[in-house]
């Protein structure tokens, strides 16, 4: 049983890795978007498992993007390394913010994260000498000189890292800590869990992933700007994806990212401005009618039919 499962994973992986051999640039670019959104949706879900909702994904994403691009431009840093450093920058920022703010919970934390994303955006817009101001900054060339196979593999790497992180969060004691904290913090604390420490840790790790994703995105497109890099799309869409696919899991956000990523590309072709409305509707409908998401609802049906 297990062998056939791993075999099918392996086959799918090989298929995905060799995709550039038999598809064109457009499809690879769509895959890039989907893969990066997988990372965002997963990292958002990982924090959700502790009971905390973040509305600041775009903030960490944009910070990572700007850090990666500016470091590359000003110091000639290797683009790949700059992406990692972008993740580190986002992580450090999250650490500073986290120790200040993670005494707050629930709605207060959520609103603070939303405010933070906006603050980052405003700061960046108002430091034109450093960041290029409202027009943003363009890289002289995109990473890998725009080679779509290599950018695709970069996106795969980012997605794989986030999948591995999510699975680590599910298989180690972190899973127990997150679930306990989410259920009841008082019980968690009385069981020996240092709730604050765990929340900061999770916030930092997930923010670093979002920063790396932002760095990768910035280098693939060769461009950062306050409106583009901090767009609310990068917060709302991952949330919709994680919820639609099935929260509190690894494959739920992945499924959600694939579905909604494809949908959003289609929508862009036909409804250039209505997409936010659609995402909002999806979030509302999912929460109201099937809060477990696609995978969660399927899992429950399977259990019932036993």
């Amino acid at each position: 049983m297990r062998i056939s499962r791993y075999l099918s994973y392996f086959v799918i992986l090989i298929f995905l890795l060799t995709l550039p051999l038999y598809t064109g640039v457009y499809l690879l670019n769509v895959m890039d978007i989907i893969l990066l959104y997988i990372a965002l949706a997963l990292s958002w879900d990982m924090l959700l498992r502790s009971g905390q909702i973040s509305f600041g994904v775009a903030g960490l994403f944009g910070v990572g993007g700007y850090a990666a691009v500016l470091l590359n431009l000003s110091t000639g840093m290797n683009p790949l390394i700059s992406i990692v450093v972008g993740g580190l920058a986002a992580g450090i920022l999250a650490w500073l913010v986290g120790i200040a703010v993670l005494q707050l919970r629930g709605m207060y934390f959520a609103i603070v994260t939303l405010a933070l994303a906006e603050i980052f955006r405003v700061i960046i817009r108002n430091l034109p000498d450093l960041t290029g101001g409202p027009e943003g900054t363009i890289l002289p060339s995109a990473i890998f000189a725009g080679n779509s196979a290599k950018t695709y593999w970069l996106a795969i790497a980012v997605a794989v890292v986030s999948v591995i992180a999510s699975e680590i969060f599910r298989r180690t004691r972190i899973h127990f800590a997150l679930t306990s904290i989410r259920n009841d913090e008082i019980v968690a604390r009385s069981s020996g869990i240092n709730v604050f420490k765990y929340l900061v840790f999770i916030f930092v790790i997930t923010s670093a992933i979002q920063g790396v994703t932002g760095g990768a995105y910035a280098h693939i497109y060769g461009f950062v700007s306050p409106e583009g890099s901090f767009s609310v799309d990068f917060t709302l869409l991952p949330i919709a994806m994680a919820l639609l696919g099935g929260m509190h899991s690894t494959w739920g956000p992945v499924v959600g990212a694939v579905l909604l990523g494809a949908v959003s590309e289609l929508l862009k072709l036909h409804i250039p401005y209505g997409h936010l409305l659609v995402y909002g509707l999806i979030i509302v409908i999912t929460i109201l009618f099937f809060p477990q998401g696609i995978l969660g609802t399927l899992g429950q049906r399977r259990k019932k039919s036993r």
Binding site: T172, R173, F176, S180, N183, I186, R189, S190, G192
Partner: protein
Amino acid sequence: MEFRENEILGIIGPNGAGKTTFINVIGGIYLPTHGKIFFNGQEISELPAHRRCKLGIGRTFQLVRPLQGLSLIENVMVGGLFGKGLRQREARKKAEELCEFLDLTDITREITRMTALEVKKMEIAHALAAQPKLLFLDEVMAGLNSDETMQMIALVRKIHSRGIVIGIVEHVMRVIRELTDRVIVLDWGEVIAEGPYEKVSNDPKVITAYLGEEA
């Protein structure tokens, strides 16, 4: 007041007397506004709850809150993983032993299908998994029928025989009478009486606290 080695101490008092608050203060959910708390000679007044758990203070909760998303055995494992810092495999083994000790079967099941008695046992197992030296049982008998109460009394004795000091908050006086060596009575947050159950239950101050003043 103090807990003595090897004892089972009853904590009683009318509703709102502060019994659960007392547990919360010892457990570290609330910090004392004045006064000090010592545990095995060490002052713990400022320590956060998770540190006190590691030192050996455990407790159950009045309104049982099983952890959704974890199975029965996983619920129990939490105490071992974080209270004792055990590795997952060891924590699972200890948790299995505890479930056997408490007569809990079918331990890999989801927690949605458990009887009231089983849920309470799981709650106790969860607290025991952290290997406490002092364990507070907060109204464990609530909602149990006569038969189940007998079972639970036997269980508490079994736990006590492992050398754990027990503080038991109860409204069911029969339980207090049977289990405890000594009782403290709380009213409006103060200890108004202390001693063996027979002495305390005849104390006029205690009777007044429960029944109110004569007109």
